[in-house]
Amino acid sequence: MRMFLYGFRNAFRNRMRLWVVAILIALPFFFFLLMQALGSAVSEHLDQLQRNVNNTLQLRASGSMGHVNMVGSDTMLLAEAVEKVRNVEHVVNVEPYALAMDPMEGGNFAIIVGLRPGDAKRLESHGEAGNPRIIAGRDLTQADVGQPMGLIGQRYAQWFNIDPKSFQETEITLDPRRSNNVIFPLPGNPQKIRIIGVYASGYVFGDLQLFIPLDIFREIYPTDGISWLFVTVDEARNVAAVERGIREALGDSADIIAPKSGAAFESSIAATLNRVVRGGIALTLSLAGIVIFFTMMIVAGERIREIGTLKALGASNRGIVAQFVAEAVALSAVGATLGFVFFTLLSGLVTRRVFTLTAAPFLPAEYRETLFESLNLSFGLSSPLLLLVLVTAFAVAVLGSSYAAWKIAHLSPVEALRDE
C-alpha cells in the first residue's frame, strides 16, 4: 500500500513533466469524451426512432403522395377517415397531417405541414420518428391552435434568411398561388406566418419543412382532406390486427405504410455513426496509452538507479511495479481530469468541427450537413461520466505502463546500478 502512495507522490516529482504529460493525455481524453457524447446522442436518437416507429402506421390516399398541390399526386384521404380509424381496436392515437408544397429556386421545394399543435412532428421521408430537436425559439403548443405561427426547419429557414444563432421571431409569407413544374397553383391569398422556432432533423429533406396549425393550413390551402394519417397502435404486436381493421374501415381508399424502411435506413446511419464513434474512442484511448507508454519508458530510464537501489534495499518486484504503475495511474488520472475540464469548457465550441471531420465524411450527402444539429448532445458533469473517465484512465495507465513495468521487474539490481 505504501508503495502505491510513493508511486502517486512520484508523479508530482517533476512538475514540468507532469503538466506536459497531463496535457498530452488530456487531449485524447477530451476527444474520447467528445466521441462518448456523440455516441450517446446517436444511441438516444436511435432509441427514440425505434420507440416511435415500431408501433406506428402511416395512411395516405391510395396511389397518391397526398400533397394538396402536387401535380398528379394530390388525392387526399377524406376527413371522416380520422374517426373511422380512431374506432379501430388497439388504436391509441390518430394524427392527421395536411401537406402542401412550396416551390423554391432550382426546382426544389419545401413542405408545409398542417398538424394539430402537440402532435408529433414527423418529417418527409426517413423522418417518421418525428419530433426533431428545437435549436432556436420554441415549439408549437396547444395554445397556438388558430394562430398563424410556425416551426421551421433549419434549411428552409435559410431560404428566409433566418439565422438560428441570432433567432428572433419573424414573419414569412406563404402563397398558395406559387407553382413550378410539379406544383400547381391553388386559389387563395398570401398569408403571413410568424416563425416561433427553428428545428434540426438530421437530414436535408427533413429540414425543408414548416409546421403550422392544421386550421391555419386549411385557411391558406383550401382543403378539408387529409394528406397523411399517422396511427399509433397500443403495442407493436397488434400492428397487423390494426392494419386489418383499417382495411375494413377504409377499404381500398388508403395505402397503409409501415414506416420501417425509413427506420431501417436511419438505423444504418446510426450504426455508421456508432462505428465511427467506437473507432474514434479506440483511437483516442490508444493515443493516451501511447503517451503513458513513452512517458513511463522515459521514467524507467531516468529512475533506473533508484529502481536498483530499491531492489538492493529489499523491495519486492511486486512493490516496485506497484509503485511504478501507481505513478502511471496518477499521471493518467491528472490528464484525464484535465481532459474532463477541457470537455466541460470547450466541447460546445469544437464538437461540431470534430463531427464534421470525423463522422460526417461517412454519412450520405443529405445527412452530412444537418444530422449534427438533430443530436441531443450533453456536455454536462455527471457522476457516471466521471467514473467512466477514471476507470478508463486507470485501464489506460495499467496497459500503457505494463511493458515498462515488466522491464523493471526483470531488471537485475546490478544492471540497474551499473553506473554506481
Binding site: E306, K311, G314, L417
Partner: protein
C-alpha cells in the same frame, strides 16, 4: 559446514568465478579460490579499478550470481536461493551504502531511513521511531525532515548509513562510500562505519589506501584474483 564453522566464517567463498560477456569476448571479473570472513569488524577491499571489488560486493549482497562456485553468507548458500528469497535476504541480512548515496530524492531523510523497514512490514510508528533513533545515532536527528538536496554530501552519506542499518542487518556493504566526499567528511564516515562494525560485519570497497588503513582487515584484489589478505596496520 557445522554450526561452529558458520559462526566463525560468516562469509565463505569457494571457487567463485564471475564472467561477463563483452561482445565476442568473455571477461573474468572475479576468480576467487577461497575466502572466509568473520562475522564482525570492518573489512576493506582494495584494488585498482577493474580488479573485481564491486563484483565481489555484488555477489556478497545477493545482487548478482556467480558464474560458478559457492557464496555462503550467514549460513545461506546464495546460488541456491530463489529470486524471492534473494530479495528477502537483501532486505533482512544486508545493508547497502553507495558511493552516490542513492537516497530517494523526494523523500525526507527520515522517510529514506524508514524505507527498508517498510519492506519488512514494520508498523508505521515503529518505523518512524527507529528512523529518528538512527538519524540521532549518525548525528542528524535535527535533519530528519530535510530532503536529500538540502543536505551536504557527508550528511547524505550518513543518512544512507542510517538507512543501511534500518533493519539491523548482520552485513553492511559499502561501495566507495567516501568516493564523492571531501577528506573531512570521509574521515567522519569511516569513523561511523568503524563504530557500527562493532556489532556486525562491514565491508568497504575503496581504492583510497589511506582510508583503508583504518579498517580491521584488508583484502586486496587484482585482475579479479585475491593477492593478499591481512590485518591492517591500524589494527596491529
Amino acid at each position: 559446514m557445522n554450526k561452529q564453522n558458520v559462526e566463525r566464517a560468516f562469509i565463505e567463498l569457494n571457487n567463485v568465478m564471475k564472467e561477463y560477456r563483452r561482445g565476442a569476448d568473455i571477461v573474468v571479473a572475479l576468480d576467487l579460490e577461497h575466502l572466509e570472513i568473520d562475522a564482525r569488524g570492518l573489512l576493506g577491499v582494495i584494488g585498482p579499478s577493474g580488479s573485481g571489488k564491486s563484483t565481489l560486493l555484488h555477489l556478497l549482497g545477493a545482487m548478482d550470481r556467480p558464474t560458478r562456485g559457492t557464496v555462503v553468507v550467514a549460513g545461506q548458500e546464495l546460488e541456491m536461493l530463489k529470486p524471492v528469497e534473494l530479495t528477502r535476504f537483501r532486505r533482512e541480512t544486508v545493508g547497502f551504502v553507495f558511493q552516490s548515496f542513492n537516497l530517494i530524492p523526494n523523500l525526507t531523510a527520515a522517510e529514506n531511513v524508514a524505507l527498508p523497514m517498510e519492506f519488512t512490514g514494520r508498523p508505521k510508528e515503529e518505523r518512524r521511531r527507529r528512523a529518528l533513533e538512527l538519524l540521532e545515532q549518525v548525528g542528524l536527528g535535527h535533519r530528519a525532515k530535510h530532503r536529500p538536496h538540502e543536505l551536504s554530501g557527508g550528511e547524505q552519506q550518513r543518512v544512507a548509513i542510517a538507512r543501511a542499518l534500518a533493519n539491523d542487518p548482520r552485513l553492511i556493504l559499502a561501495d566507495e562510500p567516501t568516493g564523492n566526499l571531501d577528506s573531512q567528511s570521509g574521515q567522519m564516515i569511516y569513523k561511523l562505519l568503524k563504530e557500527i562494525a562493532g556489532e556486525r560485519l562491514v565491508i568497504v570497497v575503496t581504492h583510497d589506501l589511506r582510508l583503508s588503513e583504518r579498517v580491521d582487515r584488508v583484502v586486496e584484489l587484482q585482475d579479479g584474483r585475491l593477492i593478499s589478505q591481512e590485518a591492517s596496520t591500524s589494527r596491529r
